[in-house]
Amino acid sequence: MAVDEGLKSELQKQGVFILPFEQLYNWGRKSSIWPLQFGLACCAIEMIASAASRYDLARFGAEVFRATPRQADLMIVAGTVTKKMAPQVARLYNQMPEPKYCIAMGACAISGGPFKDGYNVLKGIDRFVPVDVHIPGCPPRPEALIHAIMTLQRKIANQHLDKEQRPRWYDKNAASEYPIPAFGEHDLQPPANRDLWEPPRHYRDVTLDEVKKA
């Protein structure tokens, strides 16, 4: 039901707002994202700096950083995720109640970053946890983190509640908890969650046998 714009503005002047329920719902959710206080490494300092007085993150609704995952909406994975820490990150993500979002902040959380060749470095947190926004940088400036929060807010505003287009967390059958890797003898078991992450596309297409056959 589309409402005439003129009518809308007239009513607004009287203090009456007309908007779809979905918009109201999303406005409430996006304007009060509470992050989980979860800094791993250097990017955590930039996260704290962005919550400090100069780049005030509280303006965007991230008023308090909650210490417990049970009360948080957003997990900002800031810093290098090591293989020793990966099960804990996955566990924390599982403990967050839906709707939940994840921001991978910094090059290390996206793909391992400068420490990619490490025996203990997990090459990107998106191997085990679904990521909504990636922020490049080493470390990204606080303005970049604010831009990421705004991008996430736009993403939340565009989420629909109706049956066909609803997001993952609104779907009763979709999983909201992801399997936690175990410590193996040389590496994590499994090294990546294949449902969430696959190696970059254009190498998987072609196998050596196919090329040799052709």
Binding site: K84, Y119, F183, H186, D187, P191, Y203, R204
Partner: protein, 200 residues
């Protein structure tokens, strides 16, 4: 502090039977080290700690270095101790001790009973190099998880086959990508196609 030759003589006199040698560093560094054999390292270190001329009461840095076997020299793992003195404000005195590289034979006496500061650093050397320290109060892994079995800082450590396929792999990564992954990155694909074209 006195010259390194004098220190060596003093140490050799104090601990009878100790085999002490001098290893020099770069000409500019002026930090020669004393290489002591495994049986006497504890006694020599204790001597340096308690002797009133030295009073090395502060052990600053403990680390291990891996020297794989080469044609002329057998391999060894060398544990290096840097000692300083807070009381007399001199130092460093560098002690080195060597152990064979094989996992079961790689044992060295621990200096943690003398300097508590060695505790965590020796645990790290055990974790990353596989050197066992006899007499350490709590020798277990510190940086890697407990179920990990390798010693990653050794020169012959092979990382697990999980590594990112890079956009332009080269050298080892390319070889491993082809062998283990059975996957042909685009550059190798072009070369294979050129070979096919030549054969036709």
């Amino acid at each position: 502090m006195e010259a390194i030759e004098k220190i060596k003589e003093v140490a050799a006199q104090a601990m009878s039977g100790a085999k002490v040698e001098i290893i020099n560093s770069t000409p500019a560094a002026q930090q020669p080290a004393l290489l002591v054999d495994r049986e006497h390292i504890y006694g020599v270190a204790k001597f340096f700690k308690e002797d009133p001329r030295f009073q090395m009461d502060f052990c600053s840095c403990v680390t291990a270095v891996d020297y794989p076997a080469k044609a002329d020299k057998p391999g060894c793992i060398e544990v290096v101790y840097h000692l300083y003195s807070v009381a007399q404000k001199h130092g460093p005195l560098v002690l080195k001790v060597r152990a064979p590289r094989e996992i079961d034979l790689c044992r060295v006496p621990s200096l943690t009973p003398l300097w508590r500061g060695c505790e965590f650093q020796e645990r790290e050397a055990y974790d990353l190099f596989g050197v066992k320290f006899d007499g350490h109060p709590d020798l277990r892994r510190i940086l890697m998880w407990d179920e990990f079995t390798d010693h990653p800082m050794r020169k012959d450590y092979v990382p697990p086959p999980d590594y990112e396929w890079e956009p332009t792999p080269h050298d080892e990564t390319l070889d491993r990508a082809i062998q283990e992954g059975g996957i042909t990155p685009p550059t190798a694909r072009e070369e294979l196609e050129k070979e096919k074209a030549k054969k036709k």
